[in-house]
């Protein structure tokens, strides 16, 4: 129980099935406040499904999902969970296509999300500065007034990362952030995440082993909906079961 109390995110025995197919089978995991965790695992292991469960997109059939030791996430909807401070970047980049890059970020900026608050909202100087910072981070300053639909695949990835940052969540769930990025960008992203981790907790899913190594954090390996192995990157990379199902020879 202590484990749960002192954790930021606590999953215990989470099971999800779709029309009989068991995507998660008793997944348990604990993320401590301020921790960054890398999650790897074969295609179809259930990584994205796990994030769906945490963010309220999918209701688990069984198991406990607690945030900050006590908040039961399984009883809340997406918006409520997001307001708790859990932000997410999707595996397939999803941005608001018919709005400008800048407006995408404005929407994501932290702030009161109430109906009337947004109706009468005016952009403060602080917010504007923050926007410029973010645009610089994601290298889209010169495209800030373009519609998001005109971005290339990789640029959308960046924009989505920017939106995640704009929310300033307590916990960031990042699903395959470097897919479609060049090696150099991959490294940059790793640094970015590490910097963020100074103040926030991060859960990152990736298949890029260089990237995971660069993060230098504890790694959890999922397989068939449950934890297969956990530990440092070197530990899991040498685990024969991980090599068998995931890394290959």
């Amino acid at each position: 129980m202590d484990l749960a109390k002192n954790s930021l995110l606590y999953l215990d025995g989470v099971a999800v099935s779709f029309d009989g197919y068991k995507a998660l089978r008793g997944l348990s995991m604990v993320i401590a406040p301020g921790e960054m965790r890398a999650i790897i695992g074969p295609n179809g292991a259930g990584k994205t499904t796990m994030m769906d469960v945490i963010t309220g997109k999918t209701r688990p059939d069984e198991g406990e999902v607690l945030f900050a030791g006590s908040t039961d996430l399984t009883q809340m909807d997406e918006a409520a969970i997001a307001s708790l401070g859990i932000g997410r970047k999707f595996q397939k980049p999803t941005v608001f296509e018919s709005q400008t890059v800048r407006d995408n970020l404005v929407l994501a900026l932290q702030g009161d999300r109430g109906t009337f608050a947004t109706l009468f909202h005016r952009l403060t100087g602080k917010e504007a500065t923050r926007l410029d910072e973010l645009l610089e981070t994601i290298k889209l300053q010169d495209r800030q007034n373009e519609l998001a639909r005109n971005l290339s695949h990789g640029q959308k990835q960046w924009l989505e990362i920017g939106m995640l940052l704009a929310q300033e969540p307590k916990l960031l769930l990042v699903d395959e952030p470097v897919a479609g990025m060049t090696d150099a960008e991959t490294m940059e992203t790793a640094h970015l995440l590490r910097k963020i981790n100074e103040t926030k907790s991060v859960v990152v899913v990736e298949h890029d082993m260089h990237f995971v190594r660069e993060l230098g954090v504890k790694v959890t390996v999922l397989h068939e909906g449950a934890v297969l192995s956990e530990g440092s990157i070197d530990h899991v990379a040498n685990d024969p079961r991980v090599i068998e199902v995931y890394l290959g020879r």
Partner: protein
């Protein structure tokens, strides 16, 4: 005997009594030919006054005249083949294009100039058919005897008892025999001079027979009926009532399914153009209408050139309606719809425009009025299952709707074309990259949806107006059905249509047609709250994204 028969016949409740009078007269007393001739001549003269009451007197007189041509004359009147000349005071029977003098059967030298039909109104027709029916208690055709039994059951007249007893004694066919027995029981039950035991036995028999008529009989006893009989009748009525309630449940299901099949037919084409292709096809109803007009044209051509084929008219119309509506669909797809893929909401605007154009085109070509589409003989009439009546037309429509549905499912799920259709509508550019000729498949899919709507038009022409507005009256229901069932799921459309049909038919008797319809709409609204993606919702990641 004759005398008493005549006196009875003169009474107000004449028709059936007269019938039995005739039977008895024939059986018991053969009048001399001369007397018959005299009475029929007097009667025939009455037919030339063009007055309904004279006609009724004449029919009654002819019926009891015993004249050899009596049946011919009455039959002619029934068939509208009896004509008269007021100037000559003569009556003629039309036989094809020839005339026969009614009394003699000889052909007149010249046809009279002022020949006019002997007219009949409902009252005359009632008496005529009773007179004709009189012969049928002993008719060689068992079906006719059954009808005769039914009419006796309805009349419950004690005077018919002896004839009925006689017929009963001779009867060999068990079904007819049962019917005769029931008719007899109906008479006995209402006969004040029958013994209580006889009447209770009759009640028993009627109760066993059951049905709406039985209920009417058991509940409609005269006021002076002894208590014992009354109680027995009431007990019997209760039994019949429960049984009828069950049957009426079944009947409602049947009505519901048959309404459902109409909804299904109307919606199924839309399940393709809207459900599969995502086109908000407001012109769907007009495709149905075009199918109905195709049926009309086919029937016109058949009527004009090959009347013998009339019973085949729908069979011929089905492929033609499919092709006509389908072709219109293909043309529309190639000229308008194809520019709108990826802009589904704009298809609403364009197809609405198309619908206006098609409606007005049909109005200009065929006029604003309803057009007559007839029913082939195999779709007319009805039969009974227990105490439930099933009309052939409705039965065929259900069968037809299910057949169309099955065919469509097969095409979509089991043929390469079906796979290509689904692939194209799910991701047009990727389908193209896989080598699928998307323009061809698009045109064909839209054409298929429209063609099926056209087929629906053939069936709907049997139960509804064939007018330029035909489509408008189905478009809303069609969308409701497709959406209620779950967009993109054909099975949903089937189950949705049947569910809405049955619900509607169960609400209607309690709430009335108007409130019933309102309640069905409210039901749909509430149901969608529970299942926001319809009855058979598509599930899974791609849908929820």
């Amino acid at each position: 005997m004759l005398h008493s028969a005549r006196r009875l016949a003169a009474r107000a409740f004449a028709p059936l009594l007269l019938t039995f009078g005739l039977v008895l007269a024939v059986l018991a007393w053969l009048p001399s030919a001369a007397m018959a001739q005299a009475s029929i001549d007097a009667a025939l003269e009455k037919l030339t006054t063009d007055s309904y009451s004279d006609t009724i007197d004449a029919v009654q007189a002819i019926a009891v005249s015993g004249h050899p041509r009596a049946a011919v004359i009455i039959q002619a009147l029934q068939g509208g083949q009896l004509a008269f000349s007021a100037a000559e005071k003569k009556v003629y029977v039309r036989v094809g294009n020839d005339l026969q003098e009614a009394g003699s059967g000889t052909a007149p030298a010249t046809a009279p100039a002022d020949l006019a039909d002997v007219r009949a109104n409902n009252r005359v027709r009632g008496i005529v058919s009773a007179a004709m029916g009189s012969l049928t208690l002993l008719n060689p055709d068992p079906a006719r005897r059954l009808e005769a039994a039914a009419s006796v059951l309805k009349s419950r007249d004690a005077a018919a008892l002896p004839a009925l007893d006689q017929a009963l004694a001779r009867e060999t066919d068990p079904a007819v025999k049962a019917a005769f027995a029931a008719a007899r029981a109906a008479i006995v039950l209402n006969k004040t001079d029958a013994s209580d035991n006889e009447r209770v036995a009759a009640i028993d028999l009627i109760r066993k027979r059951g049905g709406q008529d039985a209920l009417g009989l058991l509940r409609g006893l005269p006021a002076d009926t002894p208590k014992r009989v009354k109680d027995a009748a009431e007990a019997g009525a209760k039994v019949v009532e429960t049984q009828l309630a069950l049957w009426s449940g079944a009947q409602n299901v049947w009505y519901g399914l048959s309404l459902g099949s109409v909804l299904l037919l109307a919606a199924i084409g839309l399940a393709i153009t809207f459900g599969v292709m995502g086109i908000i096809n407001m012109a769907h109803g007009e495709m149905v209408m075009i199918g109905a007009y195709t049926t009309f044209v086919v029937q016109e051509v058949i009527r004009a050139h090959a009347p013998g084929l009339f019973d085949w008219s729908l069979t011929i119309a089905i492929p033609l309606a499919f092709l006509t509506s389908g072709l219109v669909g293909v043309i529309l797809e190639r000229t308008v719809i194809r520019w709108l893929y990826g802009r589904p909401l704009e298809t609403l605007l364009a197809t609405w425009g198309i619908s206006l154009i098609l409606m007005q085109a049909v109005r200009t070509q065929f006029g604003a009025n309803n057009r007559e589409v007839g029913a082939p003989s195999f779709m007319s009439g009805s039969f009974d299952i227990g105490h439930m009546s099933i009309t052939w037309g409705r039965l065929w429509i259900i069968v037809f709707a299910l057949a169309v549905f099955a065919a469509l499912i097969l095409v979509l799920k089991r043929t390469p074309l079906g796979l290509q259709m689904r692939a194209v509508t799910q991701n047009r550019s990727m389908a193209s990259a896989m080598g699928i000729r998307t323009p061809f498949v698009d045109a064909l899919t839209f054409g298929l949806g429209c063609g099926i709507a056209g087929i629906a038009g053939v069936a709907l022409s049997q139960i509804d107006n064939v007018s330029p507005n035909l489509g408008q009256s189905y478009i809303i229901d069609s969308f409701m059905v497709v959406v209620f069932g779950g967009v993109g799921n054909l099975w949903g459309t089937l189950v949705g249509a049947m569910t809405l049909g049955v619900i509607n038919k169960f609400l209607e008797p309690y709430a009335g047609a108007v409130l019933g319809k309102i309640l069905v709409l409210v039901f749909i609204i509430l149901f969608i709250q529970k299942r926001p993606r319809g009855l058979f919702a598509l599930k899974g990641r791609s849908v929820e994204a």
